[in-house]
Point group: C2
Chain length 463, copies 2
C-alpha cells in the first residue's frame, strides 16, 4: 500500500492545530472588528495579468500558475515548446494564478469596486496565499495572511489605530513585543543629509541589516555602493544614538535633518503620531527605530514592524503607509496604510512560549457510554437537551467494550464521561465521571442537564 | 484606465456578503461542534495523483491543474505538444491540482494520518473547492463545501445524528426543509425484484429524475435500457405508493422486497434508523423517498437529501454512507457516513426568503465625529474604554465636514454617532445620537461608557 501524500510545502491541520490557528485568527479578527474594520474576501485565483509584474522578477517566478482548461495548446507552434521559453510560454498556456499576497488583490478590489466602497475604507482580510518558494523550516507554500488597511485617508490617526491594534492583539495573545516605527521620509532625509539622495535604496537596504550583521559589514556594503568615509562616519554617529527615549530621538533627528525638507516632514509626522499616545497607554514598547526600512520601495510614510521578545523568530507583524497602492491599476491619488500579521510565526511563538490556552485541547464536554439499545433510548433525550443548551455531547456510536469507550474519551480529551447501566436506569439516574480526578457521582436523570451545566461552569471558573 | 477584473466563475465578497456567509458557516460549525465533530483543514493543492480518476472522466477534465514551477518542459519532446495530446500532456507538466471536493482529500487524510486518528473519527471541514465547470447562474468555479463525516463506525446512530444535524442547522437558519432518506440496499433490492439486478445504475439514475421529468419519460429511458413492460408496470405501481407515513412505506416495502436479501437488509437498516426518532423530535419533515438515489456508485447504505420548502433551488444538503471510502488509497474496510451543506445555495435561499438577521448589516456600534485635535484628544480615552468593553467604535479619521462624516456613518450602517463639540467639551459631556430615530441626548463624559453599553443592550433586547 502506497501512503498518499501532499505537495511539499503544504500542510494538513488536525483538530488541535485548527483550534489553535482559529484562536489566533479569531483574536486578530475580534480586535480588527472592535476598531471598525470590515471583512472582505477575494478569490484564490486572480487573472495572471493582475499578478504579474507586481512582485518583481523573483515574485513572478514564485507565482503558482493554473493551466488553462481543455486544449491549452491551440495554435501555439510546437517550436515554442522549448525549455528556454518556459517562462514566456507559461503565460500563454495559463491565464490565471493563485494569489501571492492580499495586498495586490485588495488594490484590484478597491479599483474594481470603487463605486460601491464607502471611503475611508477600513477593510480586513484573513485568507491563505500561495508562493512557489523553496520549502524550509517555517516557510510554506500555502500560508495565511491577516491584513488590515485603511484606504482613502491620509490622517495619522490611522497609524495610531494600527499601532493600538498591534498592542491589543499581542496583549490578548500574551506575547510581549517591541513595536518599531520609522518613516520613509526620515530615511529619505537621511540620504539627503549624507549627500546621497539617489542612494536611498542602497543606504536603507544596508542599515536595515545592522541588527543582524553589525555596523562594520553595513559599512563595507556602503563603501561598495560608493559612499564617502565622511558620510559613513556621519551615519555611524547617527546609528550609535541608541538607548534614548523616542522624544529624545525625535529632538536629535529634527536637528540632524535640519537641512532636508522631506526629512523634516517625516519628523513632523512621527512626532504627531507619537503625541496621540497617552503615557502608559500601550502594554508593549513602542520604539522609533532609525534602522527600520522594510520593503522600502513600497512604503512612502510610516513603517511598522513587530518583534516578539524572549524568542528568536524574526518579525511577526509589520506594515506601513503607501501613497499610491491602486496606481498599479490606474486609480491614482488614493493613500492607504496597512498592517499584516504573520499567523504561522505567531503560532510558532505561542507554541515556544507555551501560551496557547489549555482549553483549546478540549472539544466535546461529555461522552455517554453506549451499553446497547436500552441505554441509547434512555440517553438520547438527555443528549438532545444538553445540546439545546449549547453543551457539546457525544454518544459513543457502537456498543463496544467499556474500556475501549473510555480510551476513546481519553484520547479525545473529553473531560466527562456519563454512564447509565442497568443499575442507574433502575434508579432513574445517570453516573457522571470526571476523567482527570476520577471523581464520580450519580445524578437524578431529571436533574442531569442542570447539574451538568453548573458542574461545567464551576470547573471553568476554577481554571 | 482598464478596470481590472477577476476570473469568470469566481467572486469577490464585500463586507455584507462576508458577514452573511459567516453567519451560515458559523451556524453549521456550531451544530457540528455541539455533536462532537472536530475540524480539520487540508491544503488547497493536492498531488494530481490523489485527485485523478476519483471523479470519473468528466471530473478529471474539470480539475484545475497547477503548472510545475520553473522549467516545466524539461525533456519532453516538442512533438508531444499538440492539441490532440493536451489532456495527457497536462499531467506531465502539472504535478498538482486544486481540490475538487472535500471527500477525496478527507479519504487521503484518513489514510495518511491513520495512526494519529482516534476512531470513530468525527471530522468536519469547511473549505473552498474549485471546479472548471462552465460558469452559470448559481454555479461557480470556486465555492465552499461544509462537510461532516463519521468514519470507522457502522452504527446507524451516526445516521441518526447526521439527520439531527440537518434538522438543527435549518431550524437555526429558519429554513423549512424536507429531509429525504433512502437506502442503496433498498434500491438494489428493487432492481433484483424487478428482475434486473445488473441494471441497478440505469434504474436508479432514471427514477432519481422522476420529480423533474415525470414517470412517462422515466419509463422511456428504462425501455431504452431494456426493461420489460411487466417490470415497468411493477415499478410504476411502486412509485405511485405516495402520501403514506414512513412506517406504512416501510411495511409495504418489506413485503414488496420479500424475495431480496439485500433489499431486506436495507429495510431493516431504515427501520432501525427511524425508530431512534421520538415523535415530534424533528422540526422538519423526514421522508422515506424510494426515488432518492444521489451519486449511487459512491454510496452503499443510507442516502440523504435536503430540499428547502417554499423556494425553487434544488437540494441544499445531502450525503450518505460509503463502506469503502479509503479503499481508493489502499486502506480497506473503513466504513463512513457523511453529509455536506451547499453554502451557496443556502445563501440564495436565505436571501430569497429574507431570513438573514438584520443585525448582520451593522458593523461598528458607534462612530465619533472628528472636529480636530482638541476633540480627538478628548475622545480617544473614551474610545479605548469602549473597545476594552468589546464595543466596536470608530473615530472618523479626518477633520471633514460634519455632513460628510454623517453620510459615512449612514452608508456604513453605524447605528449611533457621538459628538463632542466645544459646547459638549466645556460641560464635560458627549452627545449621543441614534441614527434611525434621530433621538439624541447629552451624557456626562465619565458616565458615557456605561451609559452607551446599557443603551446597546436595551436596543438589542427590543429587536
Amino acid at each position: 500500500m502506497t501512503i498518499p501524500s501532499i505537495p511539499k510545502g503544504t500542510r494538513d491541520f488536525g483538530p488541535t492545530e485548527v483550534a489553535r490557528r482559529n484562536y489566533i485568527f479569531n483574536t486578530i479578527r475580534q480586535v480588527f472588528e472592535c476598531h471598525g474594520f470590515q471583512p472582505i474576501e477575494t478569490p484564490a485565483m486572480e487573472n495572471l495579468s493582475t499578478l504579474l509584474g507586481k512582485y518583481g522578477d523573483e515574485g513572478d517566478k514564485l507565482l503558482f500558475k493554473i493551466l488553462n482548461s481543455g486544449d491549452f495548446i491551440g495554435d501555439l507552434p510546437a517550436s515554442s515548446f522549448i525549455s528556454a521559453n518556459a517562462s514566456l510560454l507559461s503565460t500563454k498556456i495559463c491565464e490565471k494564478g493563485l494569489r501571492y499576497d492580499l495586498t495586490v488583490p485588495f488594490a484590484r478590489y478597491v479599483v474594481q469596486h470603487r463605486n460601491e466602497i464607502v471611503f475611508p475604507f477600513r477593510r480586513y482580510q484573513i485568507q491563505p496565499v500561495w508562493r512557489a518558494d523553496r520549502p524550509q523550516k517555517g516557510r510554506y507554500r500555502e500560508f495565511y495572511q491577516c491584513d488590515a488597511d485603511v484606504i482613502g485617508s491620509t490622517s495619522l490617526l490611522n497609524e495610531y489605530e494600527l499601532i493600538q491594534i498591534f498592542d491589543e492583539v499581542f496583549q490578548k495573545l500574551q506575547i510581549n513585543v517591541r513595536i518599531k516605527i520609522n518613516n520613509r521620509k526620515i530615511l529619505a532625509g537621511m540620504a539627503e543629509i549624507l549627500g546621497y539622495p539617489d542612494k536611498l535604496v542602497a543606504i536603507t537596504t544596508a542599515i536595515d541589516k545592522i541588527e543582524k550583521i553589525g555596523f562594520d559589514r553595513v559599512k563595507e556594503e556602503l563603501i561598495a555602493a560608493g559612499l564617502s568615509e565622511e558620510a559613513l562616519s556621519k551615519l555611524q554617529q547617527l546609528l550609535q544614538m541608541t538607548r534614548q527615549s523616542n522624544a529624545e530621538k525625535v529632538e536629535f533627528m529634527r536637528e540632524w535633518l535640519a537641512g532636508s525638507a522631506i526629512g523634516n516632514t517625516g519628523i513632523d509626522e512621527l512626532e504627531t503620531l507619537l503625541q496621540f499616545f497617552q503615557p502608559g497607554e500601550l502594554q508593549n514598547v513602542l520604539e522609533f527605530d532609525l534602522s527600520l526600512a522594510r520593503g522600502l520601495n513600497y512604503y512612502t510614510g510610516t513603517i511598522f514592524e513587530v518583534k516578539a521578545l524572549n524568542v528568536e523568530v524574526g518579525s511577526i507583524a509589520g506594515g506601513g503607509r503607501y501613497d499610491n497602492l491602486t496606481g498599479i491599476f490606474g486609480l491614482e491619488g488614493v493613500s492607504g496604510v496597512g498592517i499584516s500579521f504573520g499567523a504561522d510565526r505567531i503560532y510558532d511563538v505561542l507554541l515556544q512560549l507555551n501560551k496557547f490556552p489549555q482549553k483549546l485541547l478540549e472539544t466535546t464536554c461529555v461522552m455517554f457510554v453506549n451499553f446497547g439499545l436500552a441505554t441509547v433510548q434512555y440517553l438520547l433525550p438527555i443528549i438532545k437537551q444538553l445540546r439545546q443548551q449549547g453543551v457539546s455531547a457525544e454518544l459513543y456510536p457502537e456498543e463496544a467494550k467499556i474500556k475501549k469507550q473510555f480510551s476513546y474519551a481519553n484520547a479525545r480529551n473529553i473531560p466527562y464521561v456519563a454512564i447509565a447501566g442497568d443499575e442507574e436506569m433502575a434508579k432513574n439516574q445517570i453516573m457522571i465521571k470526571h476523567m482527570a480526578s476520577g471523581n464520580q457521582q450519580a445524578v437524578d436523570k431529571k436533574e442531569f442537564v442542570g447539574h451538568f451545566i453548573s458542574l461545567l461552569q464551576s470547573s471553568r471558573s476554577v481554571e
